[in-house]
Amino acid sequence: MANFSIVGQRLPMVDGPDKVTGRGLYTDDLALPGMLVGKILHSPHAHACIRRIDTSRAEALPGVKAVVTGRDFPNRYGILPIGHDETAFAVDKVRYIGDNVAGVAAVSEEGARQALELIEVDYERLPAYFDPEETMKAESNWIHDEKPHNIEKEYHHQFGNVEQGLAEADLVVSERFACSEVTHAALEPHSTLAHYDPATDRLTVWSSTQVPYYLHLTLANVLGMPKEKIRVIKPLIGGGFGGKSEVIPVEVEAAVLSRQAALPVKITYTREEVFYAHRGRPIQIIELTIGAKRDGRLTGVKARIVQDGGAYCGYGPVTLLYSGALLGAMYDIQNVQFDGYRVLTNKPACGAMRGHGTVNTRFAFESLLDRVACELGIDPAEIRLRNQLQPPCITVNQLRVTSYGYPECIRQVVEKSGWGEKRGKLPYGKGVGIAGSHYVSGAANSIIRSEMPHSTVNLRVEDDATVTLLTGASEIGQGSDTIQLQLVAEELGVRPDRIKLVAADTERTPIDLGSYSSRVTFMAGNACLAAARNLRKQLFEAVARVWGVSADQLEARDDRVCAQNGSGKVMSFEQAVAAARQQFGTLEATGSYAPPAEARGGKFKGAGVGPSPAYSYSAQVAEVSVDTETGQVSVERITVAHDCGRAINPMTVEGQVEGSVWMGLGQAVQEEMIWNQGRLMNPSLLEYKSASTLESPEIVPILVESVDPEGPLGAKEAGEGSLAAAIPAVANAIYDAVGVRITSTPISAEKILKALRERQKPQARGNGGRR
């Protein structure tokens, strides 16, 4: 075990005190002199042409300073280079209820509201598409003219030979799974404050974003302004979960309104607007087939996935590709086939949500694997161990696996949950289930297809021997600031409170791609290490010269620099800094990280998504009890082991793992966006239930440290990988408890009761579980 002094400590999160005392400033807390309130007119129709918009009455209303429609800013944008299909406001067509038609900036919120009511829009309604399988049959009136049959993208991957693999199997099982749509429900609604200053022709934007850099690029494009005229700042964020990882309409709308009004404009979404902005986890229909030998070895897996994307591209194709790329890759399966369709419907666009793309397929796969184990009479924990990868290795779809704590995760949860004494042995109505999941530690290929480093940080030692850490990485509550600080403090051997963070301000901090795909600890972390090592090198050089020793004999630790040559020479960090300043003047260093070429995956179409420098793994045992009269499930306990490579801060890792489990449980048993003809029937937190601490079962987090060879001090992803397994673990536990398998999410009480009743019917007996 390496001998660290700051890494591995349960350091409280550095942004914690400001948040819990209410001192911290979120975007909506900010105000500027003369600031206007922005409001958006949303489409009442799911699919319609805009024949005419008359804004004259709104413009004439006293207090209204700007009214903007689609024609004013028609430049297209989108998070993926292949998906620039959005505009600040609809140009001639609306594509979902809630689509953005016009914006108003006024001196008061009430005035802005009134102005919206004065905008007249003539719509010509078009046939609308809501069902993902039906929309693919559309022959005309496509949602985007350039996307025939409303198919945004399709991918067909074949690795090995699946037909042969299945032919060699002793058991082949198939099932159709259906996952409902869920959304992030972050506490903080999307909010943007934009300030266009006509005197300097500069735009400053404060926004609730996980990706300040992409927002910067998008604003330059939409407004037609040079990048250097725009500055994006990320204040505190009240949760993102992927919902703020692409540019959300409010961000460009506040900017264009400010540009038009030449005054600061703030827009904060209402909760209903947050629900309609969405970008959450899509409906997926997954037809899955798994083949296995009698001993449980998997011979092939085949999936056909139809993904209901909503009306715009967003991250959609990436979501779909993750579903395929990570389908079989946590096990040793030599034959994998994936056919995926990302289709367009007249609903808000789906996008990235914690566990991006992997969650629904994991639910399907781990549920079906449980069935394979049961039908073969193999312990479900054991069947997973029998199919483990042998790393270092490259999976059949060319993902490079460098560290693999999954078997250890399984062993740990089996032991700590009492699996052996419980599985199949608890009284009727109680049961346990096991499942696994995995996730990327950042994408090895940048979504903007750039070759520049994915993260860069700068360090600067100030006169008072504090160290300023300038990083583009975005703290969104996941611990990004704290982890970077711990890594730098460790490498420099200084007290953590010497380090002052300046983060996520595109004018002052170097480029970081953002907080998504669980990339920050791995990538910004590696950049921090590189920068700190550069800085330390300079420091040692200076000290070595003072002492007349060689720099490689020095060590920095506990706020001091010492010689390791038996001389007993010691110098405080301040003295070392003073010595370095004498010699070099300023003391600065930079470090960056780009994923290595070997981690970047194959060359086939769609190969760019899935490759990562390292993968996290999770195994979970859920213990549930089912009320067989009401169908209600109560999750009593989750034992979860997460392979995070190295826990730089065990407390924040545990927090992330527990949060992931909660979020997974929400989707497992209750969360669902319910649509009726493109209208969301539950757009509020009094109707859409996301799990809170109140409903949390006992969660027992176990950290497995596989020490990845390329991770920062061995660390890997911790914020997402444990989400997916929670859902199938619960589903499998329900099967153990009452003998029914629910193949759709959420696993509602009503579905369970129905399944229990159907099983009681005499003709439905057969493979009905252990009872």
Binding site: E109, E110, R113, T270, R271, E629, T630, Q670, I674, M681, N682, L685, L686, E687, Y688, K689, A749, E750, L753
Partner: protein, 291 residues
């Protein structure tokens, strides 16, 4: 999320409030705890021109017993009902029901009168009031009248309250000896409202037979109702688990269960039976404990 503008009055007496109500007519809304009205105003589902706040009127918040009859002032909060020692001893069904309403914040602000007057089909109190055979006291400038709970709830969000009337008090008989009661509820996972809520009160005679049985059900139909089919199956019978289970199957007889996002009509009907049985079984156990 801002309501339309309105005029606000905070009368100091009931007379003043009645006057204002008479003067402003249907343009006015009474404001009690605000926990149903204000959300509706923020969503602009309600846009009253005038609000008459009952919060400054003394003497509308009390719980007392007089000769075996309990009376509760309309402005008594859910929290006060929940924690009332008197009610816990003399009519424990009501505090048990109050404890199931919303969360702490809602219970600290929401009032008995507001909940009843609002008549949300998923509200909890109505089930208990029905089971308690309560009567509602309605006051207007013309005087007061009383309406029994069964007639007070007219339809979804509609009560027997007429223009110019304020619900001022709720009254009912305290429990007699050998009486047990219970409230059992299937919560809406997000809002906490009742998908099904069943309040049961029963009294045993010396031989263990049910001499009085009442079951009030909320959440299931457009308005709360007495499950008379269930009651008939138990009245005068020796009560045990089996008989209760049989009778509970009648929980939705004569009503058409609602179907919504949270539960289909079929599921609601099934749950009405399950929660009726559970409430009655708990009530029976408590009655028996009193010997």
């Amino acid at each position: 999320m801002i309501p339309a503008s309105f005029e606000y009055f905070a009368p100091r007496s009931l007379e003043e409030a009645l006057q204002l109500l008479a003067h402003h007519g249907t343009e006015a809304k009474l404001l009690a705890g605000g926990h149903s009205l204000l959300p509706m105003m923020k969503l602009r589902l309600a846009t009253p021109r005038t609000l008459i706040d009952l919060g400054r009127i003394r003497g509308l918040s009390y719980i007392r017993e007089d000769g075996g009859r309990i009376s509760i002032g309309a402005m008594t909060t859910h929290a006060e009902v929940e924690s009332s020692e008197l009610l816990r001893r003399r009519a424990p069904l009501l505090p048990e029901t109050a404890a199931e309403i919303g969360d702490v914040q809602v219970r600290n602000r929401g009032t008995l009168g507001g909940s009843l007057a609002h008549a949300d089909p998923a509200a909890d109190y109505p089930a208990a009031l029905l089971a308690l055979d309560a009567e509602c006291v309605l006051t207007s400038q013309k005087g007061t009248r009383t309406v029994v709970a069964k007639d007070f709830f007219v339809d979804m969000l509609t009560t027997a309250l007429q223009a110019g009337e304020i619900l001022t008090e709720v009254r009912f008989a305290a429990d007699s000896p050998r009486t047990g009661s219970a409230y059992r509820k299937l919560h809406h996972p997000a809002s906490g409202f009742a998908i099904v809520g069943v309040a049961a009160r029963l009294t045993l005679d010396a031989t263990g037979k049910g001499s009085a049985v009442s079951v009030g059900i909320t959440g299931v139909a457009p308005k709360p109702y007495r499950a008379t089919g269930v009651e008939r199956g138990l009245l005068g019978q020796t009560l045990d688990a089996k008989r209760i289970a049989e009778a509970s199957a009648q929980a939705t007889r004569g009503v058409e269960p609602l179907s919504d996002l949270q539960a289909s009509a079929r599921y609601r009907a099934a749950m009405a039976a399950v929660f009726t049985r559970r409430a009655l079984a708990a009530a029976l156990g408590r009655a028996q404990k009193q010997g």
